[in-house]
């Protein structure tokens, strides 16, 4: 292949990788925070789904009402929905302390059910899929030659890489709140004895996590698609659960995991169009298989947070 063509291909691939990785970064960091306090939130798939739906529905209605920043209003709506669902998750896993696997799946099923019900309620059964003008892509460096497509991104992508990842890392390792989170997740009894409120800390982590997961979902409907469809999340939440283990519960490593998945996903989209004689579903399945393989290599005997899956009760 000619060098110029290859460069165009590569630059396009990197740009797409960043876009595909964005929702995964939000949701994976959200899950890192919840798992750091000892709670596996399998509600992630549903909360992303709900975020995608509520974000879209609110933005659609705000746009109809003629509000200017309708996309940001939608995003706020999505975060609120994510927070509400995480509080519900907290009620079951923190307050009642029941099985986290089943609670999380329950939250996912409930969120998906409510979203689909809500979609019918708000938009009826019209044959035309409602849509809005999505977030624009722009470059913070202006229009660059050759490298342009890498930096032509959504605001949410910039926020994820420049603000969220450093901030999440800093909070987790360099603040007293982060220390509390880690302490509660490693040894709640000791944290409690040291005066940390285990219940409040766990709820806070869940709320932060839920808001981030919802943003991840809303990114898909508000930026990438400008629409909502039932297949919008398609197992991305489960991918994030895998990435958390791959990342060993570290926000920065979560970014690398998300980029790996994003890279394979972006690559398969391009391979599909290159006319290879393989069914396109093989390519669609590829990122999931790579995630499983990455887990098999990097996820062996990893050290889970000490209180992972464990309810805390003061008896």
């Amino acid at each position: 292949m000619e060098l110029g063509l290859f460069l165009t291909f590569l630059v396009g691939l990197i740009g797409a990788t960043l876009r595909v990785a964005t929702p995964l970064i939000y949701a994976t960091i959200g899950e890192v925070y919840t798992e750091r306090v000892g709670i596996l939130n399998l509600g992630i798939e549903g909360i992303m789904f709900l975020g995608a739906f509520v974000g879209f529905a609110v933005a659609f209605k705000a746009n109809e009402a003629g509000l200017g920043g309708y996309l940001w209003i939608g995003l706020l709506g999505a975060m609120l929905a994510g927070v509400i669902m995480s509080l519900l998750m907290g009620f079951f896993t923190v307050t009642l302390g029941v099985n986290q696997h089943v609670s999380g799946l329950g939250i996912t099923l409930l969120s998906i059910g409510l979203s689909l019900f809500g979609f019918r309620l708000v938009f009826g059964e019209s044959s035309v899929l409602p849509s809005i003008d999505p977030f624009p892509q722009f470059s913070i460096f202006g229009e660059l030659p050759v490298l342009g497509p890498i930096f032509r991104q959504y605001a949410l992508t910039y926020i994820a890489f420049i603000i969220l990842i450093p901030l999440a890392t800093w909070i987790l390792y360099r603040t007293s709140f982060g220390l509390k989170l880690r302490a509660v997740g490693e040894n709640p009894e000791a944290a409690d004895a040291a005066g940390v409120n285990v219940f409040v800390t766990r709820y806070l982590a869940l709320v932060i996590g839920g808001a981030l997961m919802a943003v991840g979902g809303a990114f898909l409907s508000l930026a990438q698609l400008g629409a909502f469809s039932p297949g919008i999340i398609a197992g991305r939440g489960w991918v994030c659960i895998a990435l958390v283990i791959f990342a060993k519960w570290d926000p920065l490593r979560a970014m690398w995991g998300a980029l790996l998945f994003g890279g394979v996903f972006a690559l398969q989209l391009r391979l599909q169009t290159m006319g290879l004689k393989l069914p396109f579903e093989v390519f669609l399945a590829l990122p999931y298989l790579v995630t499983i393989a990455a887990l098999a290599i990097a996820g062996r005997n990893v050290a889970y947070p000490g209180a992972y899956l464990k309810a805390y009760r003061r008896e």
Partner: protein, 351 residues
């Protein structure tokens, strides 16, 4: 203010009462959604719970809807009881359906006595194989099975859709679906002019086997010991990995049967929407049924009723049929919370 948990076992009569209270609480909670669409909740619940049972056709339809749920519920129970979190019943179901189609397409001119056992065995094996990789990763590499089984669900659906858009594409149909399986591969009907088929009997047999294995065999005892805590089980000399592997594989096999039953009993060809999430519903059913075979059977019948009812409600009152999904998820969460009442007495406690 907080909750105080006292570890006091509930009186025996609480056991059967819990699902009943859970159902009532669920219906009260979801009534708000019915009101949102300007429908009368009581009327909606009539269509959900009473109407399907009041006619012969719709009552049989409840059993039809329950058939895959009995199987996925049993599949999930088999894994969960053994402490293996198989969330992959959905994918295993798809693989069972794929194997059943592959075999069913080749059975032209053969006797059903050959075709049906082959499909059932083939579907069971396919489900097992799909469960094998996560199970091996769990016991050999200690990699969380929740994640791997979930990811493989997505992959299984891609496999089916690749087959339907590729080699199995039925040229006559405008939808991606396989050609019809051979007549001899179709499950016979249990009641003439209804959709109730052999799969229902198969499901009941599996439920009985589930009951027998869980409560009447040494393996079931070992399995439940592992389910209650792998450390203690290991200490008691149980081969935890082997026990877990077997319960994971059998769970996958049973989920595969749900796929066989849907292909051979309902659709007669493979479609990519062969399951609207029966694998996940299996988790609801296993929880509602408290991982007990008879409980699972009742729960599957009840969810089958809700599934049938949600169609009726949608037609009669214009309430989106997704209300059924919301009710099921709510019921799962409410039941989960209420199961606490079995082992704890909960008190509100002021500071």
């Amino acid at each position: 203010m907080g909750l105080k948990f006292e570890r006091i076992p509930a009186p025996v009569w609480m056991g059967p009462l819990i699902p009943v209270i859970a159902i009532v609480v669920t219906f009260i909670l979801t009534a708000t959604l019915v009101v949102l669409v300007n429908a009368n909740p009581l009327e909606a619940y009539y269509y959900f719970l009473i109407d399907p049972l009041s006619g012969r056709t719709s009552a049989i339809e409840v059993l039809v809807k329950s058939t895959p749920l009995l199987l996925t519920g049993a599949a999930v129970t088999f894994a969960f009881a053994g402490g293996y979190w198989n969330i992959g019943a959905e994918g295993q179901l798809y693989m069972g359906a794929t194997a059943a189609t592959a075999i069913g397409l080749q059975m032209h001119g053969l006797s059903p006595w050959i075709a049906l056992p082959l499909m059932i065995i083939g579907g069971f094996i396919a489900g097992m194989l799909w469960a094998l990789v996560p199970a091996l990763m769990k016991v050999k590499l200690a990699i969380d099975e929740v994640v791997t089984t979930l990811l493989l669900n997505s992959v299984a659906i891609f496999v089916v859709s690749a087959l339907l858009n590729g080699p199995w594409r039925d040229p006559i149909s405008q939808w991606p679906q396989s050609p019809e399986i051979a007549d001899s591969a179709i499950f016979p009907k249990l009641i003439p002019r209804s959709r109730l088929h052999l799969g229902f009997v198969l499901a009941l047999v599996i439920i009985v086997i589930l009951w027998f294995v869980l409560t009447r065999t040494a393996f079931g005892l070992r399995m439940r010991a592992v389910g209650m805590g792998s450390e203690a089980a290991r200490f008691a000399g149980i081969n935890v990995n082997r026990t877990m592997l077997i319960s994971a594989l059998i769970s996958g096999g049973i989920a595969g049967l749900a796929g066989v039953s849907e292909v051979a009993g309902i659709h007669y060809h493979l479609i990519d929407a062969i399951s609207p999430g029966y694998g996940y519903t299996g988790i609801i059913i296993a929880t509602l049924g408290a991982l007990n075979a008879w409980g699972v059977a009742l729960a599957a019948l009840f969810i089958g009723l809700i599934d049938t009812g949600s169609q009726t409600v949608s037609r009669a009152l214009g309430v989106p049929a997704y209300l059924g999904d919301v009710i099921q998820a709510t019921l799962l969460l409410v039941t989960l919370g209420m199961l606490l009442l079995q082992s704890y007495r909960i008190r509100l406690k002021g500071r």
